[in-house]
């Protein structure tokens, strides 16, 4: 299945998607990685400029430049390793009501369970394709928590047809990368027998 998601993302938009499906996103996308998760969960602070409920976050730290008029724009942006956020993501989903998490590679059992329980999905965006992704960002509409530094700040962006992304965890809790790893492992074991 190929599907275009639009923010705010309702449960109905994502409930029939299954791992391996291809999705694109139009609307509002917010970067959030290690320090952003830490701030929301450990310090109990929520961003003020953006409502994450029914929203989409991107595990990513962009390069942000300024054009001749001094307006900030995305130079390069791509996914960072989602698995680093495994420690925090389940609680983050519960606390914020986020529906779409975009990142690189897969996440683990706790996140998959939270996706099933709260109706969210994780999608993998191809790593190292940062210039293509930057061209799908129409505008930076805001930035929160600049004190965290460029990679870790929450960059709020309007995107159009952002993708293609592959669903790696769906609302049933199925987990594409964990299934793949089982296959890779059995290939390894078979080779050694």
């Amino acid at each position: 299945m190929r599907k275009l998601l639009k923010t705010p993302i309702t449960y109905d938009q994502i409930k029939d998607l299954r791992t391996g499906d291809t999705v694109y996103l139009s609307g509002e996308l917010v970067t959030c990685r290690d320090a952003g998760h830490r701030r929301v969960l450990r310090e109990g602070v929520m961003p003020e400029l953006v409502d994450l409920k029914d929203g989409a976050i991107f595990h990513a730290g962009p390069i942000v430049g300024k054009d001749e008029d001094g307006k900030e724009y995305i130079v390069s942006i791509g996914p960072t390793t989602s698995r680093r956020m495994e420690l925090a993501e389940a609680d983050f989903i519960e606390k914020t009501g986020i529906r779409l998490i975009i990142g690189k590679g897969g996440m683990e059992a706790k996140t998959a369970e939270a996706c099933r329980e709260h109706g969210a999905i994780h999608c993998a965006f191809p790593g190292g394709c940062a210039v293509i992704a930057a061209r799908e960002v129409e505008e930076i509409t805001g930035c929160e928590w600049r004190d965290l530094g460029m990679p870790e700040a929450l960059w709020i962006m309007r995107v159009k047809g952002f993708g293609p992304m592959v669903v790696s965890i769906d609302t049933t809790g199925a987990n594409l990368f964990e299934e793949r790893k089982k296959l890779y492992r059995s290939a390894l074991d078979a080779a050694e027998e």
Partner: protein, 311 residues
């Protein structure tokens, strides 16, 4: 060193950093093209096509090919007759700050424990610089590596029991690739270091990662292991990007040293498909030659070689 010459020295290095951040070195680019052309699985081939398109746009728009421009590391061979030895550290430092502002690169240096981003990619202990002496030479030989987050995460080293032997080494590497390599943007470059303890094995694995693809260890047994590991990792087929395809690696390079009979140190350093590394030689008159690249960014004063693939 007069101010004008120092500026020329800084500009040479910062131009080199710009090139490395935007286009891949010839060996990696060549191997990537070979893999892309041989991929038969449609979804994997589509993925490679996207990666290739990204390289094209990066070069045309002169933007870093990946947003994670890493923590910058230099491995320098200092000719004992190079006239500006006292300037090397300061020049590398200033070149990193200049390139970060101008390309721009992502500021990735956060200070230890306080986690405050310096904003310049320079800070306490970075850029990381390792020095070696080259007797009799009047050149400065610089290898640069942009150590990205995703591709640095799988790196590790461990001391195995000697009885675990060659099979133990292979198992350790393959398990690391399956468990962590899927998230590190494969096809990967696997640098393996074999030594006595964790730190020397890790250092050797970085040296292996810096060695051009297509070259082999001069030790016949290590060369055999490079080929065997490459073939067996490709058999697992984690690339591209962990989704699954016909290969896993761009190559496996091994560097080793004689080790203590009671220990078997193994280090692993991994590079992603877009491994950004480069090699430049700066002569005593400050003229320079890039040894790693044949393709240059559109705005570079250096010309892309005519025999380079048309990206």
């Amino acid at each position: 060193m007069d101010q004008k010459k120092r500026e020329q020295f800084v500009d040479t290095v910062s131009d080199f950093i710009r090139t490395v951040s935007i286009v891949l070195p010839a060996d990696i680019y060549g191997k990537f093209m070979e893999i892309m052309r041989h991929e038969k699985i449609p979804s994997a081939a589509a993925c490679y096509h996207n990666m290739h398109k990204n390289m094209y746009h990066a070069r045309k728009l002169c933007r870093p090919v990946c947003q994670d421009t890493g923590v910058i590391e230099f491995f320098v061979g200092v000719g004992t007759k190079f006239p500006y030895m006292d300037e090397i550290k300061g020049v590398l430092h200033d070149a990193v700050i200049k390139a970060t502002a101008e390309v721009p690169l992502r500021p990735n240096a956060v200070e230890p424990l306080s986690e405050r981003n310096t904003g310049t990619n320079a800070g306490y202990g970075v850029p990381y610089i390792e020095y070696d002496l080259v007797p009799g030479s009047s050149d400065l030989d610089i290898q640069m590596y942009m150590s990205g987050g995703g591709s640095s995460l799988p790196s590790r080293s461990r001391v195995l029991m000697p009885l675990e032997g060659r099979e133990g080494i292979k198992r350790y590497i393959k398990e690391t690739v399956i468990e962590w390599g899927v998230n590190a943007c494969p096809p990967l470059i696997i640098g393996v270091g074999l030594g006595t303890d964790a730190s020397t094995s890790a250092a050797l694995s970085k040296k292996a990662l810096l060695r051009p693809l297509g070259t082999h260890s001069e030790i016949p047994e290590a060369k055999d292991l490079e080929i065997e590991l490459r073939d067996e990792l490709d058999e697992i087929g984690i690339a591209p990007l962990g989704f699954g395809g016909s290969c896993s690696v761009l190559g496996v390079n091994i560097e080793c040293a004689a080790h203590h009979p009671a220990t078997l140190g193994v280090g692993i350093s991994t590079g992603c498909w877009a491994t950004r590394r480069g090699h430049i030689v700066i002569h005593e008159d400050l003229s320079s030659k890039n040894l790693s690249h044949i393709v240059f960014p559109e705005n570079s004063h250096e010309k892309t070689a005519e025999n380079a693939d048309n990206i």
